[in-house]
Symmetry: C2
């Protein structure tokens, strides 16, 4: 159902769009993502509606490039999916 | 701290950006907004990061115009602010 992460430039970022079956599933994912964000102190930019979530993950290193630590967070987010 | 709602065209929508002092305040607002969405069955498009939330409210009447019922939801959202 989902696209993988896309590595974009200017500014450097990872992006992913995820579609959900219903609002409840969207909510459960957002709650898990919240817990992960607080635990890891990483706050992706999140856009969502009733049945979708768009994520933008900027480099941990401000003004830096996407590195292993960022791909690691992306993978941790993927692991939250139903 | 906040801009009022802006009524935009093509497509018709109300938009508002809200800034928060910290992630905890942002989270509390999003939780309240979630409760309101489920209660009213209105799901604005929401973009947020650690300390901001952008809201887009489309007409309740699909392909319709912004009407009193939409302004009423906007006001209900405003009432959720700290």
């Amino acid at each position: 159902m989902d696209q993988p992460w896309t590595h974009r430039q200017r500014p450097e970022r990872l992006e992913r769009r995820i579609e959900f079956a219903d609002y409840e599933t969207t909510r459960v994912f957002l709650e898990r993502l919240n817990d992960l964000s607080e635990q890891e102190k990483r706050y992706p930019d999140i856009s969502f509606g009733r049945t979708y979530v768009n994520l933008t993950l900027r480099p941990q290193q401000e003004d830096g490039t996407i590195e292993a630590v960022d791909h690691s967070i992306a993978a941790a987010i993927d692991a939250l999916l139903p």
